[in-house]
Point group: C2
Chain length 203, copies 2
């Protein structure tokens, strides 16, 4: 079978991120400081038309050091998995050379994300090794904008906590929700799993 396929997939942050981070403080000590950095990135992402209205970051929990920022890159990179959380986890793991951000020789890490994770990102959070998750706008906020959050268990916070992952929700929620609304008002694409699906009879 001769199958031509790409041997490699690459994705990257938008160019504006470098300057954006240069303008931020070196250490973000509080949840609110961390979330503010993230939400401003989500807003910048829609202004620059470099992806959807979502951002996330991995921080060292104790020091407040930013390890990696992620923004939604689904449409620019043509990869449906590139939600902000997946981008942030991947960049953090790549930077640290470890698929487990909770590895014993690493400081503790946490995810700070502008919207509560969808089903995919909820699962990805479990595998990432973070020991804490901080969120701003809610699952319901995202759904009210037309985004399908996917097949999540109703008790998603408890599911994380059972795996040793602490959860804090609603930090700067209004600011994050304003970004979602700005994206919708600007006519941003709201893709979900039902777009383009037709009834295929496979065999």
């Amino acid at each position: 079978m001769k199958v031509k396929m790409p041997a490699e997939v690459c994705f990257s942050l938008p160019d504006w991120v470098e300057d954006y981070l240069a303008s931020c403080k070196k250490i973000a000590r509080t949840d609110e400081e961390r979330m503010s950095l993230v939400i401003q990135a989500a807003r910048r992402n829609i202004l620059e038309k470099s992806g959807g209205p979502f951002a996330a970051a991995v921080f060292e929990s104790h020091s407040g050091r930013l390890v990696a920022l992620g923004v939604n890159r689904v449409i620019p990179e043509n990869l449906s998995m590139l939600h902000a959380e997946i981008v942030a986890f991947s960049l953090a793991q790549h930077r640290l050379g470890n698929y487990d951000l909770g590895a014993k020789d690493l400081p503790g890490h946490e995810l700070v994300t502008s919207t509560e994770p969808c089903a995919m990102c909820l699962g990805a959070t479990c595998w990432s090794g973070v020991s804490r998750v901080v969120t701003a706008s809610s699952d319901q906020d995202a759904r009210s904008m037309g985004f399908d959050e996917g097949p999540k268990p109703g008790n998603w916070q408890k599911e994380l906590e059972q795996r040793g992952i602490e959860v804090r929700t609603g930090v700067l929620r209004d600011e994050a929700l304003a970004v979602l609304k700005a994206y919708r008002q600007a006519g941003g694409v709201i893709y979900n799993s039902r777009d383009g699906l037709r009834a295929h009879k496979p065999l």
Copy 2:
């Protein structure tokens, strides 16, 4: 803030995949033919020590043409998201230049995966645009090997079907389960979300 971070993340299939695919038939017409191709790739992946005991592929549903094969690459690439399904979706979307495998100008696509999807891959399946999912070994098979499948709703098949995604489970289940067992017997790493997690007091 001066943050040095990788601007780009890349991942690839193992080198053996090209030769493996050259040895396969051009078209896989039945679910069993498609699954056999996938399970043999999962077995090869553990023999070559190029990742975990999982493989998945995206096929065109009608024609049976293979669009992309994925294998688990978490440990070799140090990226926790690189389950076989994510790799297959990403390679397929990259190849077709579309984040939506269900886009109106594309033929219908399906995911054929050696093990029922974990929470992350279940969500990713919704965003991928496939209109059908075929599985071999079960969620319970994976859990019995020590893999945590994550926070999945109990009715995951119904959740997919509600989104227009047809599901068929248990195709060549015993063959896929044998690969999971072979991996465990060979002492393969069984990572999950609790490895390495400690109690961090974040602030």
